[in-house]
């Protein structure tokens, strides 16, 4: 027999509970305060540099006030699109295979372990891999496509893991019902499981891509250049990216360039915000369609 819970009188655990709630509030407040402080510092230094020409103009080594991040912004857009095009089909495909087709095999166990380990490998190691494999062995040189392939490798484990989690949330009863009605594995996956799991898959995928945008270390290794006056004009073009440009400005001896770095950080954060916004929008859209 369970005792009915008394909601009126004070209970012995009430202080502990209050303390816990405050601890949680503090936990939420610390990162928010830090973010607000960072945003304030960056905005104070950089906001006066923001303008349309800052977004489109080439960088300048001689005059901080006319320098822009056009090539870096274009380079980052190229990287995002290419990385997503490469990593999403492979990552989601791998997740579907592991979840829907080989769920209980030994191979799946080994793969699972390998993927979990890969997700923890530092990004610079992916840079080394990209340098050896794409830049040299496959002779792509220091091009956008080599950078995108490296970033794709970097985010694959994240995409696979999050897509598997999303597929796992689909009730087995639905699969059994579909298969019981005579659907093939493929029909079941394509028409029942995937639509149900799509919001989760997309959220994971977009968060993974957002991570790729902020990465600098692997790009330095696979040869994104520090100074270039034009954006990429093809997958085999030289390129730079937003984090590279920001880093370059922070290490310039002239202090005026630090303001440019701050403005660059604002642009990078805005880009991330847009991408996360799209993620939320997509998820809501699919969720409402499902219900």
């Amino acid at each position: 027999m369970r005792r009915p819970i008394d909601l009126t009188s004070a209970r012995p655990g009430v202080f502990a509970e209050k303390a816990f709630v405050w601890l949680c509030r503090l936990g939420a407040a610390i990162p928010l305060t830090m973010l607000a402080w960072l945003l304030y510092r960056v905005a104070a230094a950089g906001v006066h540099r923001l303008s349309w020409s800052f977004l489109t103009d080439p960088p300048s080594q001689l005059d901080a006030s006319t320098a822009g991040l056009g090539p870096a912004l274009l380079g980052t857009l190229w990287l995002i699109v290419l990385t997503a095009t490469i990593a999403l089909p492979i990552g989601i495909g791998a997740a579907i295979y592991l979840e829907e087709y080989s769920r209980r095999s030994k191979l799946a166990g080994v793969l699972e372990l390998a993927i979990a380990n890969l997700a923890g490998v530092p990004s610079i190691v992916y840079g080394m891999l990209g340098l050896g494999l794409f830049v040299h062995a496959l002779a792509m040189g220091e091009t956008v496509i080599a950078g995108a392939l490296t970033l794709a490798l970097l985010i694959l484990p994240i995409i696979i893991t999050s897509a598997r989690e999303a597929l796992r949330t689909v009730k087995d009863g639905l699969r059994e019902a579909a298969l019981g009605l005579g659907a093939t594995r493929w029909q079941c996956t394509r028409q029942v499981v995937l639509p149900m799991a799509l919001p989760g898959i997309l959220t994971g995928a977009i968060l993974a891509i957002a991570r790729a945008i902020g990465e600098t270390a692997p790009l330095v290794v696979v040869g994104a250049v520090a100074f270039i006056l034009y954006g990429p004009d093809g997958v085999d073009a030289k390129y730079t990216a937003l984090p590279m440009q920001i880093f370059q400005w922070t290490s310039n001896p002239k202090r005026a360039f630090l303001d440019n770095a701050a403005a660059g950080i604002l642009v990078l954060m805005a880009t991330l915000l847009v991408i996360n916004g799209v993620a939320i929008w997509l998820r809501n859209r699919y969720q409402s369609r499902r219900s």
Binding site: P58, P59, S60, Q61, L62, L74, L77, W78, V81, L82, A84, T85, G141, E142, L198, V220, G223, V225, A226, F227, I228, L229, Y230, G231, P232, D233, G234, A237, K238, Q248, T250, S251, N252, P253, K254, R255, L258, L282, R285, Y286
Partner: protein
């Protein structure tokens, strides 16, 4: 299929960015990489070259050593270097049949700075610096009082350029006496602005980095005059400045910085044109980005060296300390 719609719109975005990107010049572009010190001048040269003679150039910043690796693999046309090429690097180039022309483009001084609150450091001698930075000092020399009698018993915290940089190589050659050898327990950063902040925020710090970074932060740092113990270039401690660096009296910590041009790449007309443009503007641009321009005589000898397409190094495989470029270039021209 909404996902397909989403991807089509992303690809459309890619197409738009392609359309926006300016096409590379028909003749191809000049690829430069190497020292982050030389990067500042090379990027300035690339910017001007694009505007004035319509030649495109890309400039990387992967360090002197990293630049030579790419240069001797034939990946780039020009390598920036804040120290002369090493014997091992020259061998790597030779193995790939890459001949090169060594061209000084400016002078840079290595500045030693302390916190503005530090009242007792009036100057440092090379011997004192060696006591601090030698490999034996690791874990042993940790207090200012160990450097000179009468200095306070306070911790000595050292900061400096990372071991991959040409600045580190030159500093160790000049101070420790052996290139690329020093204690390891000091705070390293490839970003000199990080070192500036480090010295600014620590009363007991001593740091070394490029003179250009001191020049921009004079109000936040205290410069330390250096005494090399040899009276012939000026007695006592010498403070780095444009005059003392170019004139050779700030010894042993003023050094030339270079570009190395691949002779094979000069067969491409746009590379040769670019280097001509670079040399013609080197003195103006180096002053503009914060370095010390070459004296007229050295500038002239450098241009002549390029015009003659004279390959090889005047340094014979290592940093030479305390020799002026004019002597080196002139003696070679005579032979």
């Amino acid at each position: 299929m909404r996902t397909i719609t989403a991807w089509v719109s992303l690809l459309a975005l890619a197409a738009t960015t392609t359309a926006c990107s300016k096409k590379q010049a028909a003749g191809g572009s000049v690829s430069i990489d190497g020292s982050s010190t030389v990067f500042l001048i090379s990027a300035a040269a690339a910017e001007r070259a694009k505007k004035e003679i319509g030649i495109d150039a890309t400039v990387g910043s992967s360090g002197t050593g990293g630049g030579f690796k790419k240069f001797c693999a034939g990946d780039i046309d020009i390598a920036g270097a804040s120290r002369p090429i090493k014997a091992a690097e020259a061998d790597a180039c030779k193995a790939k049949n890459i001949e090169w022309i060594e061209l000084p483009v400016a002078y840079d001084g290595i500045a030693l700075v302390v916190n503005t609150k530090n009242a007792f450091v009036d100057k440092l001698t090379v011997d004192e610096l060696k006591k601090m930075w030698a490999p034996e000092a690791e874990g042993q020399v940790t207090k200012w009082s160990q450097i000179r009698e009468g200095w306070p018993d306070q911790p000595l915290r050292l900061l400096g350029a990372g071991a991959d940089s040409g600045t580190y190589d030159y500093f160790t050659a000049a101070i420790v006496g052996k290139e690329h050898s020093s204690r390891g327990d000091y705070r390293q950063s490839e970003d000199d602005n990080v070192l500036v902040q480090g010295v600014e925020s620590d009363d007991n710090a001593l740091g070394f980095f490029g003179f250009a970074y001191y020049a921009e932060n004079k109000d936040k740092l205290k410069i330390v005059p250096i005494d090399d113990g040899k009276p012939d270039n000026g007695d006592g401690g010498i403070t780095p400045s444009a005059e003392t660096i170019a004139g050779g009296s700030y010894q042993p910590l003023s050094r030339p910085i270079f570009i190395y041009v691949s002779k094979g790449a000069l067969a491409k007309a746009h590379v040769a044109k670019f280097v001509d443009f670079y040399l013609a503007n080197a003195t103006a641009l180096s002053a503009k980005v914060g370095y010390v321009p070459l004296p007229a005589k050295v500038d002239e000898l450098t241009k002549k060296r390029f015009a003659d397409r004279k390959t090889g190094s005047v340094f014979a495989g290592g940093s030479k300390v305390g020799v002026t470029l004019e002597q080196l270039l002139a003696s070679e021209g005579g032979s």
